[in-house]
């Protein structure tokens, strides 16, 4: 039986996850990283992507927005702006959302309004994570 540790996934809309797990994989700013029990204390940014945890030999996935993650000996706290569990994501809807956002990104161009562009890009990344979590395919990819 592998050692377990506590993980909390918190968004401004509430706590989505609070349980003992064996392993997590999170999308860090400098690359995806995995955490097992007894990890060195770590503080890092999370970029929009797929967050997952291992429980009973199965990875449970979440699509998450940007935020950060704190790893402390026996507990991991992941604070993100938004998070969607696999079961809540409608693959087709996420795919069409992604298509629409990418279309808007193309027409906008990054020069005009950098802040708005960044925001839109962020949304698109979250949408891409949703699509990837749901396993849906996007036309043209």
């Amino acid at each position: 039986m592998p050692e377990k540790f506590k993980v909390q996934l918190v968004t401004p809309r509430g706590m989505l996850l609070d349980k003992e797990v064996e392993e997590i994989i999170a999308p860090g700013i400098v690359g995806e990283f995995g955490v097992l029990a007894g990890h060195t204390p770590l503080l890092t940014f999370i970029k929009p992507g797929v967050f997952s945890y291992l429980e009973a030999d199965k990875f449970i996935k979440f699509a998450v927005g940007s935020g950060f993650c704190e790893v402390l000996g026996d507990s991991v706290t992941v604070l993100v702006e938004e998070a969607y569990p696999e079961s809540d994501i409608d693959g087709a809807a996420a795919a069409s959302e992604l298509r629409e956002l990418e279309g808007r990104l193309k027409t906008m161009g990054s020069v005009a309004d950098a802040a708005a562009y960044g925001k839109l890009l962020n949304q698109a990344k979250v949408a891409r994570a949703k699509v990837s979590v749901s396993g849906a395919t996007v036309a043209g990819h």
């Binding site: 909390q8 890092t44 950060f68």
Partner: protein, 288 residues
């Protein structure tokens, strides 16, 4: 003296008012439940954010970021006041306005000027007629409190702090305790200070990327989250206050209806008695 018909009209009108206050009470109760869920859901995020931020800030030199540095001399203070857009919620807004005024009076002898950013219409209505400089307003927004709103308030505050000659930014709002109690709360938003409960965690962290980069990204998020929870607190408090006020109004109307009905009945009886006396008197006169 009011005639019987006048009193009956009044009873009808009070009854109508009572229907309205009762309906408002129910609506507020329903909204309160949702608002309470929202604020309860947001608190863990805010608390965690605060804990992480404080432990980080306490181990970093304040010089690395301008938003961490306290000014040597405070001349101008920016106060972000969160009130409601609509009235009929008891002392909810009045208490807050009074709090803000007291704060200004306290600052005045020290030569500190207090400017306002009003979030919510009621605070703005109160202060725009007074000798207070209003640096910014966010009106009719309390119906739909969300992250983008908190973001734009935070952006305004940061901009004013960095370029507008303000040395401190404070946040004033009603903190939600229970449906019947709100606590006027004032928090210092900027400069961000780490003196409270700092350095609790002495563990050495791995930082990705560097400590400074983490901190400078965390500060705006931290401010946003503080404003966001303050907004949610205010919304929940507003509905709580309105519910309590409408509850009181409904029972006052009940009491008034009771008194007026008593009065009307008495008058009706009186007039019947007079009429009877007249008839009896008339009959007696005819007999003779």
């Amino acid at each position: 003296m009011a005639s019987l018909r006048d009193i009956r009209k009044r009873i009808a009108s009070v009854k109508n008012t009572q229907k309205i206050t009762n309906a408002m009470k129910m609506v507020s109760a329903a909204k309160l439940r949702r608002a309470e869920e929202n604020i309860k859901a947001a608190r863990p995020y805010a608390d965690k954010m605060r804990a992480v931020f404080m432990s980080l800030a306490s181990r970093t030199d304040p010089k690395v970021h301008p938003m961490l540095q306290a000014a040597d001399e405070v001349k101008k203070v920016l106060l972000i006041q969160v009130t409601s857009d609509r009235g009929l919620c008891g002392g909810f807004n009045a208490n807050l306005n009074r709090f803000a005024e007291a704060f200004m009076r306290k600052m005045e002898p020290k030569g500190i000027q207090v400017d306002l950013i009003n979030v919510g219409r009621k605070g703005n209505d109160y202060f725009r007629r007074r000798k207070v400089h209003i640096a910014g307003t966010f009106l009719n927004v309390m119906n739909n409190v969300n992250m983008p709103l908190a973001e734009s308030i935070a952006a305004t505050a940061v901009e004013k702090f960095m370029a507008g000659g303000y040395q401190e930014v404070h946040l004033l709002y009603n903190l939600f305790k229970t449906a019947a109690t709100q606590v006027q709360t004032m928090k210092k938003l900027l400069p961000v200070s780490s003196d409270t409960e700092g350095g609790k965690r002495l563990l050495e962290y791995l930082y990705e990327p560097s400590e400074e980069e983490l901190l400078s990204d965390l500060i705006p998020r931290y401010i946003q989250t503080q404003i966001y929870t303050a907004l949610l607190d205010s919304v929940a408090s507003e509905h709580g206050a309105r519910m309590t006020a409408m509850e009181a109004a409904t029972s006052n109307a009940e009491e008034m209806i009771y008194k007026l009905t008593l009065k009307a009945n008495r008058m009706r009886q009186e007039s019947i008695t007079t009429e009877l006396m007249e008839i009896v008197g008339g009959a007696e006169a005819l007999k003779g």
